[in-house]
Subunit: 308 residues, 2 copies
């Protein structure tokens, strides 16, 4: 499937609509009670748009392994939880003490609207609510097998979001910036693998686990996702250097101005471009044996050829 076809675009829209619907159903809360400012800030950040890539990946990988017996309700809990964890990480990344960003995707950031204290608490509450939502899947389990899958999915989620996953990567990134010590290649590789890669890996793995895939297949999904994460982040760095500001919705060249080490500053534009192609090729070849992976592979192709 070519990602420039109408078929691809329609399917992508349908996947995005599904992810938005799941978020509305599981993640958005009624804004009432004394915690109203918090609930309002959480909803604001959750409904700020975005590609919804992680829950879409989770759903697509689930479909690679699922048969009609497999419980999509369990999956929906984790799709929502994953997007909440991604969202909390953005809310905290944007804080004054971190990247100090007032705008994201053309909208004011959460702390810019609700203040710094509620920004911190909204991130905390989103992270916690992700686990509350994922735990909700236990109530929909109809067998011991279901319970084991949910338990395994929860373990993956918590590991990949944690200190040896995403938060670990954020730390390396922030620490380099706050100490004015630009990263070397090894540190940058670590940061990309954890900060960007870990949640994408978790999305692929959880999709597979909830559809009953075996450990070997789950490992294969983890490897494929790791290549997708790398290719995706390098493409991000390339776009920051040579992208179209209007299409990106943000100024380009910010990494260079901040003297930040990126894949492009460390490897050069040419090698970066080659590596995007190489890593995405690795991901695609790990997926090509699956009969139903056509759209997933096209989606990966679209991401590494994107201009926004």
């Amino acid at each position: 499937m070519n990602f420039e076809t109408e078929e691809f675009k329609n399917r992508l829209q349908a996947e995005r609509d599904r992810a938005e619907e799941v978020l509305r159903k599981y993640a958005v809360c009624a804004e009432e009670g004394y915690q109203r400012p918090l609930l309002s800030a959480m909803n604001y950040s959750l409904t700020a748009g975005g590609k919804r890539l992680r829950p879409i990946f989770m759903h697509l990988v689930f479909e690679l392994f699922a048969d009609e017996k497999d419980n999509t309700v369990l999956l929906e809990h984790f799709m929502a939880a994953m997007e909440m964890i991604h969202t909390y990480s953005l809310v905290h990344d944007d804080l004054p003490a971190m990247d100090n960003d007032l705008y994201r995707r053309g909208r004011k950031t959460t702390h810019a609207v609700y203040g710094e204290a509620i920004g911190i608490l909204a991130g905390d509450a989103l992270l916690n609510r992700a686990y509350e939502t994922a735990c909700g899947a236990f109530l929909s389990c109809t067998s011991e097998n279901d319970m084991k899958r949910v338990a395994r999915a929860l373990s993956i989620l918590s590991e990949k979001a944690g200190v040896y996953g995403m938060v670990g990567g954020q730390t390396a990134d922030v620490y380099a910036e706050k100490t004015d010590m630009p990263m070397d290649k090894e540190q940058l590789d670590f940061t990309i693998r954890l900060k960007t890669g870990a949640l994408i890996e978790a999305s692929f793995m959880i999709g597979a686990v909830l559809a009953g895939a075996g450990e070997e297949e789950v490992d294969r999904m983890e490897r494929a996702a790791s290549f997708v994460g790398k290719a995706f982040q390098i493409q991000d760095d390339i776009l920051d250097m040579i992208g179209d500001e209007e299409k990106l919705g943000k100024p380009v060249g910010s990494d260079a101005r901040n003297q930040k080490s990126t894949y492009v500053t460390l490897y050069g534009l040419e090698e970066a471009g080659q590596d995007v192609a190489r890593y995405s090729g690795e991901a695609l070849s790990l997926l090509e044996d699956f009969a139903d992976s056509e759209f997933l592979r096209a989606l990966i192709g679209s991401l590494i050829n994107r201009n926004s």
Copy 2:
């Protein structure tokens, strides 16, 4: 058992030692890799002392219901997870955008040592690691029954720590302070119930659940804990007004100086003292039917008669 006896003091020390040992075993991480500043900040905050009340309550309630078959390894995962959630809430409460405290229990706060960005990330990482640690209990399950107990305990933990639990209470507290709108009695009651009460309730409930208590008994523990939380917080407010600075390790009168609504400012010292006695009496009477609750009841008695 009288809480002024040697027997009580020895038992309390033994419970505290056990909680510290569990924390060292499950929560403290080797400080290595590019996320070292984060791991170091997490360990710093986790080893800052404190009463370790929540894991101690969890263990004592577990013992009320457990027989020799019940798996204490499952419990240990949750004791550690609970203390990590309590610790993250303190780390974030102390941040400049929140209470802006540079000292806690006579030691510099986490952000004061590691900077604000690492302070935010360390709190995030502690919250996430709490769930990672609690999920680790699934690996020690030896039956479907064990799995069901761990799943239920996880659900309680995530609910009581979340937007309708502790974080909700923090929000009401912070919001009143940031907007300079002192709380009325209803708001204060909400804040005490969620900010202080929710994690104590979860500790009692999880102890009961992991020992196989039935839903009615779990409800009874939740009610008892709710009274303990109220009595504990009101006593805190009393000590802030009339306590001994040296014994408390912090200046008294800070609530009054900050024109903060507390139980004492809203109800007066006399009624506050009566309510501590009344609420702790309610808690004790819910526990008195349990043959093995003697030490737990003495501990509750010591908390409401404490001077630090």
